[in-house]
């Protein structure tokens, strides 16, 4: 019965700090001016005391060097800042999302995502800056394949129900020593030894991937920004496994959602058991989801008014 239950993910919820808009406005005025160029930016998410699957953006999103730390993981995306409100309103959001989705597939197939698993946490940001009123119109999308549906194989378990305290303790040390690009998505064996994606999976000879791999005693791990059901980032990890490891199709696999708390505890971490589908060989992932809904659950963009913190006249009132 439980085999037919569709496995569900918690969507990312974007949190944009005022300094993100400040930097965007500064770049628009000083660098891009009237050009509409796609910019590569980054967001961050954490699996430490995580709640609500948040993804953060601030002025460091524009930096060339990204400072991550033990529990701060990078997400990679494209910013499309448009010049007019009309072009913001009229641009074809479906085709934008499809382009982003196809790019993700390309990055999986050419090995980029194995080398840098953070590429799996991908996003798209469409924006228009009304610099006179300090209004920023924006809309995030977090591309994921609508076609790839997986099923719950059996109920989830807490990490302590599957592993010894000793193994869990060592696991914490091993994750801490990894670069966060790698600790975002990786594999662990039955004693929780870490195996990097790039060491276990090849993008060239996919048919031989994980051939001698015991699926019941290995775990596909990811750092989870969500506290109950699995966070959105897992969805593209599953896509990677489906595309690069044909042997997994139609099989049940173990997912380990790594969640940390203060005092270095992993006790909120959970093991999920899921079954991957088996589509025909010529199956194409064509439909992509999803644009973020606004606070009222509607399919529309948001406005951030930054006059409180950016408009010299308004801020002067508060200085006084």
């Amino acid at each position: 019965m439980s085999e037919n239950k569709i496995f569900q993910y918690v969507q990312f919820k974007s949190v944009v700090a005022p300094d993100f808009w400040y930097k965007l406005a500064e770049n628009k005025l000083n660098i891009e001016k009237l050009d509409e160029i796609d910019q590569h930016i980054v967001g961050t998410y954490t699996n430490l005391n995580a709640k609500n699957c948040l993804i953060d953006f601030d002025c460091t999103s524009f930096n060339s060097k990204i400072v991550t730390s033990r529990n701060k993981f990078g997400a990679v995306g494209v910013l499309k800042n448009l010049n007019t409100i009309e072009s913001f309103k009229n641009c074809d959001k479906i085709s934008l999302l499809n382009t982003a989705g196809n790019q993700l597939i390309t990055n999986i197939l050419n090995g980029t995502c194995l080398e840098n698993p953070s590429e799996l946490a991908s996003f798209l940001l469409l924006s228009f800056a009304d610099l006179k009123k300090y209004n920023f119109y924006y809309w995030f999308a977090f591309p994921a394949s609508l076609d790839l549906v997986i099923y719950e194989a059996s109920p989830s378990q807490f990490i302590s129900e599957k592993f010894t305290d000793e193994d869990i303790k060592n696991f914490t040390l091993k994750i801490d020593s990894l670069d966060t690009k790698q600790s975002a998505f990786f594999i662990a064996n039955k004693t929780l030894d870490v195996i990097l994606l790039k060491d276990a999976i090849s993008h060239v000879k996919t048919d031989s991937n994980l051939l001698d791999f015991d699926l019941s005693s290995n775990y596909f791990c990811f750092s989870d920004p969500s506290e109950s059901k699995c966070g959105w980032v897992l969805r593209n990890y599953i896509l990677l496994l489906y595309l690069l490891c044909p042997i997994l199709r139609g099989q049940s696999i173990n997912i380990l959602s790594v969640r940390q708390s203060e005092q270095n505890s992993l006790k909120a971490s959970k093991v999920f058991y899921v079954t991957l589908p088996k589509y025909n060989d010529d199956f194409q992932f064509l439909t992509w989801t999803s644009w973020e809904k606004n606070n009222n659950g509607k399919m529309m963009p948001r406005i951030a008014n930054m006059s409180e913190v950016m408009d010299p006249i308004k801020t002067a009132e508060h200085f006084a």
Binding site: Q8, Y9, V10, Q11, K13, S14, V15, V16, A17, P18, D19, Y22, K23, T46, L48, K51, N52, L54, D56, C59, T60, F62, N63, S64, K65, V67, S69, R70, N71, K72, K89, K93, I94, A144, L146, I150, K229, R235, E262, T289, S290, W291, N294, N295, G297, K298, M299, M300, P301, I303, A304, N305, M306, E308, V309, M310, T315, H318, F319, A320
Partner: protein, 307 residues
């Protein structure tokens, strides 16, 4: 006082440019820090409290006296469930230090949650306060409606609204009580704050900046943010200033007395036969600024031995 603050913060940004970087340790002498000591204390904080991280900030605003990837410390999405302003109706605060003119630090006890909840529940607001709150609520509603009208054009038709079976439905956090009789005092808005610890070159101490969001992660107004500051410190020790590494303005706990306070802590510790190391500076610092922002729940750290 407000006017003085205004002049102070403008002249300070000038003075900061002219002040030489502190080279020798003045920690024991006057509770101040060199940039190296700030970095060491920051490393210790990051090690002890995993929620704090170093940030490089805006790359075009890097301060040369600090390492490029350790410009300031940040912790994000810190929950703030109660309004400090409301708590103060119930009079559960006490003065820890003899007030010296206007600069005295006032602290609040938030240890006993039950007690607070009870007193909040029992709290009877004066009628003018209720009117004030009601009025405010209506105003925000109006604003939201206005915004919704503006945005309606932007709503996308069915095209984007595909049904995705793999999306977990997350219940939106209820912000209002269903009981209509209770509508005013049971409104609980879980806000969240980002906190930044910046090195203030002029005062040679840490400088705390904060910025808050409502339950939908929408930026709060400055007045709303002041509701989460101990009312005796609002607009005195806490001001609204431009963040030196970022650009936009944020609330800031004025650092003018941090050095003296820290010196006092060192003395208390010494009297108790303990020596405070410069590494624990920021952990102690966070303890004492907690009295200014008592409802922002960032402190998971251990207790500090002073005796």
């Amino acid at each position: 006082m407000d006017m003085i603050n205004k002049i102070k913060s403008t002249s300070l940004s000038m003075a900061e440019k002219l002040t030489p970087v502190l080279k020798e340790s003045k920690f024991k002498e006057n509770g101040r820090l060199t940039p190296e000591e700030f970095v060491a204390a920051g490393d210790h904080l990051v090690h002890m409290c995993r929620t704090w991280n170093w940030s490089n900030g805006d790359e075009s605003k890097i301060k040369s006296y600090l390492p490029a990837d350790k410009q300031y410390l940040v912790t994000k999405n810190v929950p703030c469930q109660r309004r400090c302003k409301d708590m103060e109706f119930s009079g559960i605060e006490k003065i820890v230090e003899e007030t010296e003119g206007e600069d005295g630090w006032v602290t609040q006890e938030v240890d006993d949650e039950n007690e607070i909840n009870e007193s909040v529940a029992e709290m009877t607001l004066e009628s003018n306060k209720i009117d004030e709150l009601r009025e405010k609520e209506t105003n925000t509603q109006d604003e939201e409606e206005e915004e919704a009208l503006d945005m309606e054009d932007f709503e996308e038709s069915g095209m984007l609204e595909t049904i995705d079976p793999s999306v977990a439905i997350v219940q939106p956090t209820a912000s209002k009580s269903a009981d209509p009789n209770n509508e005013i005092d049971s409104v609980v808005h879980c806000r969240s704050y980002d906190l930044h610890i910046v090195y203030n070159k002029y005062y040679q101490t840490p400088h705390l900046f904060l910025i808050g969001y409502d339950e939908n992660k929408k930026l709060l107004t400055v007045d709303e943010m002041f509701e989460d500051v101990s009312q005796d410190n609002a607009k005195k020790t806490v001001t609204f200033e431009q963040h030196p590494h970022l650009g936009p303005s944020m609330l800031a706990v004025h650092p003018c007395r941090h050095g003296d306070l820290m010196k006092k802590f060192i003395q208390i510790a010494e009297e108790g036969g303990n020596e405070l190391s410069v590494y624990s500076y920021l952990i102690i610092f966070l303890k004492f600024v907690q009295s200014v922002i008592p409802t922002i729940n960032y402190d998971f750290s251990q207790t500090i031995k002073t005796n």
